[in-house]
Amino acid sequence: MSALLRRSPAGLSGVVILVVLAVVAALSYAGLLPYDPIAQNPPSRFLAPSGEHLFGTDQFGRDVFSRVAAGVGNSALIAVVAVAFATVVGTLGGLVSGFYRGLADGAIGGVTNVLFAFPPLLLALSLASVLTRNWFTVAVAIAIVYVPIFIRVTRGPVLSLREIEYVKAAVSTGQSRWQIMFRHVLPNISSIIVIQVALSLSWAVLTEASLSFLGLGTPPPAPSLGSMIFEARSLVFIAPWTLIAPGAVVVLLVVGLNLLGDGLRDTLDPRNRGKR
């Protein structure tokens, strides 16, 4: 991490953005928001941004800052859970597939090919539409889309690692396959996985926002950045802040994650060391 901060100014700015947004999201988890993000208050509709309402209020008199903060918390939660699930399942799949080869590889490869046969957003959309809708099922829908990506990203390096001397030596010392996989192979592909996690998080945030924009994300009244932007479409000229605030925040969140991912790639990927 410190290497990232020293070597990559882009990565550093990504970290700064994400820390600020994490603080905002933490406010919503800790219940420290200035207003209730859901409670309606009709008398104070469409108030312009001021000291009292940092980002103004919306058509129901709800505080936009509180809603955006809760929306960031919601997006982050879904993205983290989805990517964590995809990382664990996908990495395990890639390890087994590359290490055991044979039948396991064939079966896992078949499932991967099937999931890769869908445009990602369409797959997430279809899955989200058939599951009962709450934040967790949205996360599961997004996770299923990213599992094959992690499988493919890990399988290749595992295939080449198992031919390398120290892995062969470990085999000859009689360690079990699982010991070898986790002790000798996994640490050597960890940087690839870390980079993929950062990039996947940014896609997951975008996918979640797209789903809730289409009405297939976390159901209302829970605030979500995508659905806030959807509702703001018709309000742009009465209350532009209802569009600008969630729009700017979702872009900032994805920019932060992309910068972090790029920074990690520049720092960790051996092919990039010393280059640039």
């Binding site: 046969a117 869908f118 445009p119 957003l121 369409l122 959309l125 975008l206 009405g215 994805v254 992309n258």
Partner: protein, 322 residues
């Protein structure tokens, strides 16, 4: 040698057929996971008022009394004979709906890709022409923006700015096809393809930059320069020519994503494409429409990927030479 190539093609095609079968199973199972069935979807709460006899008759009519495996193969068999199901909402067969919506999405995808290439390739070459310079930084900013601004946000903003401020909203007056009114159609395609093209330009820009940098460090470029090839010809023929393979692969992949993945933009600009057909099916709970349309999209996606594979074999100078 020839039989080896043919074997690989046969294996690839067989693999693709296997994958498509898996896709069909997946789609079928996924839509069976929804609580309720065709009857409750059509009748809503009234389904509860059906007598057991009516219930049975309807189940027989929709084939729901058959075992799942039979239902699956009867659906798959119907797909092969062109019977994709019927949409009560549109009063049309799903085949007819698809024959109308697929060309629309295809047109949108072509325009988006062309715009993306026009933005991404020159900017990528420019960024690579001098690394760590101002132009490189500008390229990075453009690609970061393309990757980070969600399509629905850009689309919403464009639409409200153009429609409200300049009164320009060709998409507000009902979609026309390219053959009915080419000029209006092009206007209607303009904003959606701009939004999609901007998003796709980012990965194309990055791929171009990396590929050009990679190719330029090769010995043959130095040799070509040493033997006096003019700089312009060197950049286009030697560098870009060899960098084309990853660019084409990336373009093909992105083109595939647009089939169905353009759903958000199609929805915002009321473009009646195939992604919107799925979305409407989901919203109207017409699962027969969703099931068949998703399968068609997966088929199209797989075909596009296959064609990309073939195409890059054709354009790769190394493969071409041998």
């Amino acid at each position: 040698m020839r039989s080896l190539v043919r074997n690989r093609v046969v294996r690839r095609v067989a693999g693709t057929v296997g994958t498509l079968f898996g896709v069909a199973v997946f789609v079928f199972v996924m839509l069976r996971a929804i609580p309720g069935n065709q009857i409750t979807a059509n009748l809503g709460t009234e389904a509860a008022a059906l007598t057991p006899a009516q219930q049975q008759a309807l189940e027989r009519y929709y084939g729901l009394d058959q075992p799942l495996v039979t239902q699956f193969f009867s659906w798959l068999g119907n797909m092969f004979t062109g019977n994709f199901g019927y949409s009560a909402r549109a009063q049309q067969s799903v085949l007819d709906l698809t024959l109308q919506s697929l060309p629309v999405t295809f047109e949108l995808a072509v325009f988006s890709i062309v715009l993306a290439l026009l933005i991404g390739v020159p900017l990528g070459m420019l960024a690579a022409s001098r690394t760590n310079s101002a132009r490189d930084a500008a390229g990075q900013v453009v690609s970061l923006a393309g990757l980070s601004i969600p399509a629905f946000l850009l689309a919403t903003t464009l639409l409200s700015v153009f429609a409200a401020s300049f009164g320009f909203n060709p998409n507000g007056q009902g979609f026309v096809s390219l053959f009915e009114d080419p000029l209006l159609n092009l206007q209607q395609m303009f904003m959606p393809s701009l939004v999609l093209g901007f998003g796709i330009a980012a990965p194309i820009l990055r791929t171009t930059r990396t590929a050009v940098l990679e190719v330029r460090s090769n010995d043959f470029v130095r040799t070509a320069r040493a033997k006096g090839v003019p700089e312009r010809r060197l950049q286009v023929r030697h560098v870009l020519g060899n960098a084309l393979v990853p660019i084409v692969t990336m373009t093909g992949l992105q083109f595939g994503y647009l089939l169905g993945g353009a759903v958000v933009v199609e929805q915002i600009f009321s473009v009646p494409g195939i992604g919107r057909q799925v979305l409407l099916g989901i919203q109207q709970k017409e699962y027969a429409v969703v099931q068949s349309t998703v399968l068609v999209i997966a088929l199209a996606f797989v075909i596009v990927n296959l064609l990309t594979d073939v195409l890059y074999r054709i354009i790769d100078p190394r493969v071409r030479a041998s």
